[in-house]
């Protein structure tokens, strides 16, 4: 019994079985890993001096291996924690994360991750969608300045006579498809090297690897 219990009536906790099934098995720890990966992958790219962000790598991984809702929750939590760890701007891009989760899950469901040209196409489209959603946020909330390397692109487009919204949109359309294509290809490269025994514990693994013929036999 908790110390602060008093005469208030008991309140039933939201215990939807369907909701709980989202976190069944290894999915909950996978979501936590996806959240952490989103936050720390920047340290790896910085250590290797690679000029890309890959800040949605964890979300994409969770979307492929678990599903859209799990990825949206994991990605949103990553952005909230990024806000807590000193980058409050990230909290405003939660809608972008949710769209990345849903789109990636659709791409995985359509089997696009099994063929690399389709993976590239999925990444390009993902980048365009992400740019369309993030541009108004970057323009109206942040005035087009995020203190990131991509700000130079915004300044370049503004110096060419574009307004803020168009400049942030053009910046997103320039950088996001490249970042998302690399993220998609990285996820495929990582998952294709994993042993099936490990991968098949996750509900979305069949979207990456078709069931082997010897398993059927």
């Amino acid at each position: 019994m908790r110390a602060d219990t008093d005469a208030r009536p008991l309140r039933p906790v939201m215990n939807s079985t369907r909701f709980h099934s989202l976190f069944a098995g290894p999915v909950l720890p996978l979501m936590a890993f996806g959240t952490a990966l989103n936050l720390v992958v920047g340290q790896i790219t910085a250590a290797l001096k690679i000029p890309i962000y890959l800040d949605s790598l964890g979300t994409i991984l969770v979307a492929v291996l678990a599903g859209p809702w799990q990825a949206a929750i994991s990605g949103s939590l990553a952005n909230l924690l990024a806000a807590a760890f000193g980058n409050p701007a990230m909290a405003f891009f939660i809608p972008v994360v949710c769209v990345i989760a849903i789109w990636t899950s659709l791409v995985a469901r359509w089997g696009w991750f099994r063929r690399w040209p389709l993976t590239v196409l999925g990444g390009v489209l993902q980048g365009v969608i992400a740019a369309l959603i993030s541009a108004p946020i970057a323009a109206y909330v942040f005035g087009g300045t995020m203190l990131a390397g991509t700000d130079l692109l915004v300044i370049l487009y503004r110096s060419l006579g574009n307004d803020i919204l168009r400049s942030t949109l053009l910046q997103g359309l320039t950088s996001d498809p490249v970042d998302k294509v690399i993220s998609y290809l990285l996820v495929v490269a990582l998952l294709s090297r994993l042993p099936s025994r490990l991968l098949m514990r996750f509900p979305g693994a069949v979207r990456i690897q078709p069931p082997a013929a010897d398993h059927v036999a």
Partner: protein, 246 residues
């Protein structure tokens, strides 16, 4: 430590950042910066939190200056020019940048001070107390744990791959290959750990089809929560009314 009134204040700050006049926004920003000094509920509990807050304030200051300069220089359209330190800035651009910077400070500072002054354990308790699924609380705590653990693992893998001859300081293409060499073991170890933890959680009944009924017994609300929520509602209603009348 009850996060409910603090969350209500954060919500009010967010709504005011979008809907309230700039004078109220300035008052709220000053209140936000005073709260950690005078209110025990908002006090920053550790040196690390204080360091993060200082770094954040520096970040906001630089961001505001960059916003002013970029918008002052790049704002299209005719307008009066301000000369600041020998640089000619567009007056409309500077005004726009000031509005954005004020809104940004209010939005960001409220979120940051909330997280810095509230222990993660209190947030997890709050999630459960409000009747939300315990899985969300576990996910939050586990994520924070992995975030603290992962950099060490990355460092170990990076050092091991470098010792094996991975070209971590070669050309861009070579470094990109090293990225896969680092991410591969990191993903394998993390997925294996996820499976093990998944088994442990399943043994404790998490994600089970049959869930034991659980009850929340504590109310996290305080005397500040409802007035702040009402203020947020009034601000939205006032703004909507003004918009309709226009």
């Amino acid at each position: 430590m009850k996060p409910a009134p603090k969350l209500a204040f954060v919500l009010y700050c967010w709504i005011s950042a979008v809907a309230a006049p700039w004078t109220l926004q300035i008052v709220l920003v000053l209140t936000l910066f005073a709260l950690p000094l005078f209110s025990p509920m908002w006090r920053l509990p550790s040196e690390r939190a204080k360091h993060t807050a200082r770094r954040f304030l520096a970040f906001l200051a630089i961001l505001s200056i960059v916003l002013l300069i970029v918008n002052g220089l790049m704002f299209s359209g005719a307008g009066r020019t301000l000369i600041v330190g020998g640089i000619a800035l567009n007056r409309s651009g500077v005004l726009f940048a000031s509005t954005v910077a004020l809104r940004l400070i209010l939005l960001s500072a409220s979120v940051l001070f909330f997280f810095l002054s509230t222990p993660m354990r209190a947030i997890a308790d709050f999630i459960e107390d409000r009747g939300l699924p315990s899985a969300l609380a576990i996910l939050t705590l586990l994520s924070v744990h992995i975030v603290e653990m992962l950099p060490d693992r990355i460092h170990d893998i990076l050092a091991a791959q470098e010792a094996r001859g991975a070209p971590v300081r070669g050309s861009l293409l070579a470094r990109f290959r090293s990225l896969i060499a680092v991410l591969g073991p990191l993903t394998v170890s993390s997925l294996a750990e996820a499976i093990e933890r998944g088994h442990a959680y399943a043994l404790r009944g998490l994600g089970s089809a049959r869930i034991l009924p659980s009850y929340s017994t504590a109310s996290s609300a305080s005397r500040w929560t409802w007035p702040l929520l009402s203020l947020s509602f009034i601000t939205v209603a006032w703004r909507l009314l003004a918009w309709i009348q226009r």
